[in-house]
């Protein structure tokens, strides 16, 4: 290659993939924005009318689902943290030689299909399945007790499915903690609890932040768990968007809801980037 054209090399490398992302990620996002401002129906066709009123209208109409989704996603984040942090801590500090093996053990269940895992939970939580059915037969539960189709099942399913997104970043952060700092703290007469609260926990916060974001975002957008494990009373915003798009063909309203969800996620990412430093975020 002639030397004059050397500056072009990185651009040639970037071009195909960059264009792909531009054409099938960035442009569709803009199209979705413009679709939200259209009016019409599938049969008469849609026309861009700049109908900004769709936003307050859609938000007002689906406010309960939006609030429920945020509530569920917060609960899921808290639960994955409660389950995942001690796991990551145990693997990082007590794992010894078996650290990577233990870590693999944590990820292994997630090599099965997301759907099949969730369907498996449906089987476990079923009203007269082998778990609740047996407990009812033994008289340990009353006949009317149910888990499936309740918020417990939906939040439980989401927690299960997104747990690795919490465990892995927290583990990476804990793994980096210099044990000598903790020892220094205990040498200086800090109790184990104090050493944890004042040294280990603050040092692991970047992992907790990253894990919370990685759990919260997919949980907010998910509709599979609510669809398989929930009922009409546990409908999340993802279910609404999916139904409006694929069944009702109400594209403007669906696009408006999608755009609001995207904006909410972007705000959270921006806040996180502020807290953690943007370079670290985008550079992985």
């Amino acid at each position: 290659m002639p030397h004059r054209l050397r500056w072009a090399v990185p651009y040639l490398f970037l071009l195909p993939g960059g264009l792909w992302l531009l054409a099938f990620f960035a442009v569709p996002m803009l199209v979705m924005g413009s679709v939200s401002l259209m009016e019409g129906s599938l049969s008469t066709g849609y026309r861009l009318t700049g109908n900004v009123g769709i936003y307050p209208e859609a938000l007002g109409r689906w406010a309960p689902q939006f609030l429920r989704t945020i509530g569920y996603a917060l609960a899921v984040t808290a639960l994955t943290l409660a389950i995942g942090y001690p796991m990551a801590y145990t693997i990082a500090f007590r794992g010894g030689r078996h650290k990577s093996l233990l870590l693999l053990l944590v990820i292994l269940p997630f090599f099965t299909s997301f759907l099949i895992r969730t369907l498996s939970w449906k089987l476990i939580l079923a009203d007269n399945g082998f778990v609740l059915g047996s407990l009812k037969d033994w008289g340990l539960l009353e006949e009317g007790f149910r888990l499936i189709a309740t918020p417990v099942a939906v939040i439980g399913g989401l927690t299960y499915n997104f747990l690795p997104f919490m465990v892995l970043p927290v583990y990476v952060a804990l793994e980096k903690v210099d044990v000598r700092l903790v020892e220094a703290a205990t040498d200086l007469y800090a109790s184990r609890t104090q050493a944890f609260l004042r040294v280990t926990l603050p040092l692991s916060m970047p992992g907790v932040f990253a894990g919370s974001l990685l759990t919260f975002i997919p949980a907010v957008g998910d509709f599979i768990n609510a669809e398989i494990l929930g009922s009409r009373d546990t409908t999340m915003i993802g279910n609404v968007i999916q139904r409006l798009f694929l069944q009702n063909n109400d594209y403007p309203q669906a696009a408006a809801l999608g755009f609001v969800l995207m904006a909410a996620v972007l705000v959270m990412v921006a806040v996180y980037a502020r807290a953690a430093g943007g370079e670290r975020l985008t550079q992985g």
Binding site: G18, F25, L281, G284
Partner: protein, 289 residues
């Protein structure tokens, strides 16, 4: 506890001499491993159930209560075109999107690591954002575009979408491998008269190949399991996850558990082999360990 506590490595930095622990303390020491063991059991519960019910013989009934052991499902699954058809679609989409995304993503990763250029920040954002966007938004926005353009959705639009969401993961995975890369190895090859292309083929590629392979495997796994995005861009085409979701409304046949079990087994064997190779390499050159 007579060894001097020299604080050099994690292994050598012995803690303060252990005092005799009271019983409460000893119970507390078991708390954390116990909790973790419980959590791991929780993680494996649905997998165990999935495997168990792949051997169930529901005999026409819904596959939700245990009726009896059978191996029939493992034979039957291959005789059902309603399952093998979608499975084939999924494999085709996964293979095509993996190949394309791995090629495009590796090129971007190489450009990011080894060249200085403008628009780097914008590009980093363009790569990061698809991973931070909820899948439903990726699917919905693509659907918006296809509908606006009047494009029929089929297996091609599925593959396009899968390449899109896979590129970012490939970039991140390959970049992680490249950033520890020793540029002097390439310079040495060039000093010895190798052309740029030969250097790339004989030095660069073999060194980053494990990273590319890992990225490709990740892309394949993400593609073959994707339901959410696919459901928006599939049109009438049915992939395996779409098929599973479709039948889950009526009742899941044991064949779904069979395929789930086989996929799990495949992943398990793959990981086991990886660990085995890793251990052997470690033993072969203990000085590096």
């Amino acid at each position: 506890m007579t060894a001097p506590a020299i604080p050099v490595g994690r292994e050598l930095a012995a803690p303060v001499p252990e005092r005799r622990r009271p019983i409460g303390r000893r119970a507390a020491a078991l708390l954390l491993p116990g909790y973790t063991a419980l959590a791991v059991a929780y993680l494996f519960l649905p997998i165990v159930v999935m495997i168990a019910f792949s051997f169930n013989d529901p005999g026409g009934r819904q596959n939700i209560t245990w009726q009896g052991f059978t191996l029939e499902n493992y034979v039957d699954v291959w005789r059902r075109p309603d399952i093998t058809g979608p499975m084939l679609n999924s494999v085709v989409v996964a293979l095509v999107s993996t190949l394309l995304a791995t090629a495009l993503g590796t090129l971007i990763a190489m450009a990011l690591v080894r060249y200085e250029f403008r628009a780097r920040g914008t590009l980093n954002l363009l790569i990061f954002l698809p991973m931070a966007t909820p899948e439903i938004i990726l699917g919905a926005s693509l659907l918006s575009m296809w509908v606006s353009l009047g494009v029929q959705r089929d297996i091609t639009t599925i593959a396009i979408a899968h390449v899109m969401f896979n590129i970012s993961y490939v970039v991140v995975t390959v970049r992680a491998r490249l950033s520890g890369f020793d540029r002097r190895l390439e310079e040495a090859a060039m000093d010895l008269g190798a052309s740029e292309w030969v250097t790339f083929r004989k030095v660069t590629l073999p060194l980053i190949f494990p990273g590319i392979l890992a990225a490709a495997l990740l892309a394949f796994a993400l593609s073959i399991d994707d339901y959410v995005i696919t459901s928006f861009v599939a049109g009438r085409t049915v992939t395996f996850p779409l098929w599973v979701f479709g039948v889950s409304r009526i009742g899941v046949p044991p064949e779904v558990n069979v395929l789930g079990t086989l996929i799990f087994l495949l992943a398990f064997v793959f990981i086991a082999v990886q660990i085995w190779i890793g251990r052997r390499e470690l033993r072969a050159r203990p000085a590096d360990a």
